[in-house]
Amino acid sequence: MEAARSVGPLVVVGGGIAGVTCAEQLAVTFPEEDILLVTASPVIKAVTNFKQVSKVLEEFDVEEQPSTVLENRFPNIKVIESGVRQLKSEEHCIVTEDGRQHVYKKLCLCAGAKPKLICEGNPYVLGIRDTDSAQEFQKQLRKAKRIMIVGNGGIALELVYEIEGCEVIWAIKDKAIGNTFFDAGAAEFLISKLMSEKSEAKIAHRRTIYTVEGKCNIWLVSFMDETKRRAGHTTVKTCRISWVSRLPLNLPHHAWPFKCWVDSAHLCTQTLRGVFGGISMLYLYYDIHVSAGTVWIVLTNIHFVQFSHSIHIETKCEVKKIYLQEEFKIMKKKPLTFPKDQHKSVTVDKEVWPVYVELTNGKIYGCDFLVSATGVTPNVHPFLHGNNFDLGEDGGLKVDDQMRTSLPDIYAAGDICTACWQPSPVWQQMRLWTQARQMGWYAAKCMAAAGLGQSSDMDFSFELFAHVTKFFNYKVVLLGKYNAQGLGPDHELMLRCTRGQEYVKVVMQNGRMMGAVLIGETDLEETFENLILNQMDLSSYGEDLLDPDIDIEDYFD
């Protein structure tokens, strides 16, 4: 029976990080075989600028690329742009939305997960999962004056910090922010950064928003033909300039003021003296698809005012109900204004909003839209009908230490799967891009080994949980059981903290390091990685381990 099945290509479903990594690895291992990548979206995700920071810590960027890029690099990969309608596991074939059937020798499901929307079908409730939805979000954000963010995970954290020039109401069901990533202490450390009235002068922002006040001249300068055309002259009371890169904006025939983020710091520092005689200017690079080539829009005579954040956090609450504008008028309930300061002086909001949100703590706020960042749910639905998969508690496909699902010749990797092997004591699954990449790679390795009748040794990346990211412009490194997950009360914490600079938290059990949270440039990640991996007995050092006077990196070198 098995012999008859070993025909057909190796098929990977999903064009995200896990799927693409798996397909690439398969293509490299089996240069003679056909690899089929089935994806519902016209673009695929690619890992770029990969950097191995230390033994297990990795950094990389994720870019979207058209599928042709992948096909060009690996001639044995063919990309099918269509969703999966059905999986017939007995017959070893999948049926795609376009009606075609594809037989597979082995199948790897990497269809990812989708955001849990607190309310399906409401046009004012957005979920952000990938760049598609991120772009949609940015489009909406440009016009918004106030939004609400519900949820406490990585996405919510990033959003809250990135959004400027717009009021944000952040509703979390926990006591403190960043629950999945941080403990209350780290949350407190980060919050002070978020709530500070003035942003520090030297933050290296990727994007900065400036307010332009007063009158401002607008010039169009094209370097191609050396002409300067005066485009307009506008009296601007408060023009918020925010710009989303790569979205071509139609030229200024419609509504001034327009919003654009200045995309990189160096653009601003090209406030050249000389050309316009020392007047401060802002060059905004526009990619306009006209024959003139690239055109710069120059605003002169502007006065920069940097925005700080306007964030209000509502803790220990969830969304009770969402009303559209019309419904709400009838309700005659009282919405609150945005709390401007820490005092409780809230008043009834006179402004009219497209949507109103009632929280479980009784408060009601109006806003332009709501972002649901409450977690994700694995995309298993298209594959379940007629197939008896073992599912994990979180709804994902259960996989063993060879990334196999409960059905023969079907593997799974990334957000869609639930890891069910006996994990290393310092590793846990989290639905992050880094793990998606590691799993995709490892699944391909296992599929290859299985083809030869062998099994694979667990990849080193599953020995120790490690994730490096940025929150609130701080570098954040999470190692091992960074929140003492599963350790019970039998552990202790060691802490070193300097407000605004660094936060170091170490989880110790029986004198051994089990996890760490490092916020800021601590330079401790490599040393701690080693200490967690080799489980050295550190009890004799006590809290001296974190003594900032002792160069611990050098000591354990």
Binding site: A176, D183, A184, G185, A186, A187, E188, F189, S192, A484, P489, H491, E492, L493, M494, L495, R496, C497, T498, R499, Q501, E502, Y503, V504, M536, D537, S540, Y541, G542, E543, D544, L545, L546, D547, P548, D549, I550, D551, D554, Y555, F556, D557
Partner: protein, 324 residues
């Protein structure tokens, strides 16, 4: 249970006046703090090493010696391979602890876990270390190759035309089996060099032909902003330190890092809710008065030169620093 062993040999360290002050300061601070376990001052570590079974001649601290795990960084110790008592000491590994119990090895410092060289654990360790040494060597060769390629690309020529070749490749942390003359007799020794560099003199058979007349080059990197040096090995070094010299500026207690305002009461309050024991790191108050305790590479190199264990040859000024 600790039995305090009397030293088998002397513990010696090389300093000039400035460095001497730093060494004693470190010791004083440790004693004040009641320092048992944890971070031992380098002087104490040198002493503990001097008590290891099978050690020959002296436990030596080079001028840049400072506290490290197990051996101090900048500590050299040689063990007689033919002495059945002699040990190899890599640091605390579970296998070592077993071996120590079985072979009844007692040490003053738990971190100095070791095994008899001839025992299975000792032999395994030597093999493992050789594998690690090879890995490191291949790693460095790869980096060299890539560096040459990078320069070639930027200058649009070949690495050979740019005269980019490896001057010397040496490791700072390894134990090597070497022949040395001790008390007039030639002996086979296992020389542990932690944070110190081998520096053989001119005419030594083990160094490359190119350097037979000058002696082995020793590359001493400074730190960001300070000078670096190239030294050569000397005959005196062979007898005094078994051909060992320093490896760079020693970091003692680096005060630069402690310029912080440790202020975290809010954070602590939030964490206290969880009911878990929390310990907080704070620099000991004594440190506030301590002077800049950073061992300057120039001091270190000059001390080696004055002591005759290596000779200064070239001083290099940094043009660019790349941190990776």
């Amino acid at each position: 249970m600790f039995a305090f062993l009397l030293n088998q040999v002397e513990g010696v360290f090389y300093v000039n006046d400035a460095l001497e002050k730093l060494m004693f300061e470190e010791l004083r601070n440790a004693c004040r703090g009641g320092g048992v376990g944890g971070f031992l001052p380098a002087m104490k570590q040198i002493g503990n090493v001097a008590a290891l079974p099978g050690i020959v001649h002296r436990s030596i601290g080079l001028p840049d010696v400072h506290s490290g795990y197990g051996f101090a960084i900048g500590n050299m110790a040689a063990f007689d391979m033919n002495d059945p008592e002699a040990v190899v000491s890599p640091d605390a590994l579970v296998a070592m602890e077993k071996a120590m119990k079985r072979d009844k090895i007692i040490v003053n410092d738990r971190q100095l876990a070791c095994a008899r060289i001839a025992s299975p654990e000792g032999q395994d360790y030597l093999k493992g270390m050789a594998a690690a040494g090879n890995y490191a060597w291949v790693n460095r060769s790869s980096m060299t190759f890539l560096t040459r390629q990078a320069f070639a690309k930027v200058f649009n020529t070949t690495p050979d035309d740019l005269d980019l070749h490896v001057i010397y490749d040496v490791s700072h942390n390894i134990a090597k089996v070497e022949q040395h003359v001790v008390d007039g007799k030639e002996r086979t020794l296992l020389v542990h060099r932690k944070g110190s560099t081998r520096a053989f003199p001119p005419h030594h058979p083990l160094i490359a032909v190119d350097y037979q007349l000058t002696g082995q080059p020793v590359l001493i990197g400074g730190t960001m902003g300070t000078c670096s040096y190239v030294l050569t090995g000397t005959e005196q070094g062979m007898t005094e330190t078994f051909g060992t010299t320093c490896h760079g500026a020693g970091r003692a207690l680096s005060r630069a890092k402690s310029r912080r305002n440790l202020d975290f009461q809010d954070v602590l309050d939030k964490l206290a809710d969880m009911g878990i024991a929390i310990r907080v790191a704070s620099p000991k108050l004594v440190m506030e008065e301590a002077p800049e305790s950073y061992k300057n590479v120039t001091d270190v190199v000059n001390t080696c030169h004055d002591a005759g264990i290596s000779k200064k040859a070239i001083k290099l000024r940094p043009i660019a620093v790349i941190k990776g």
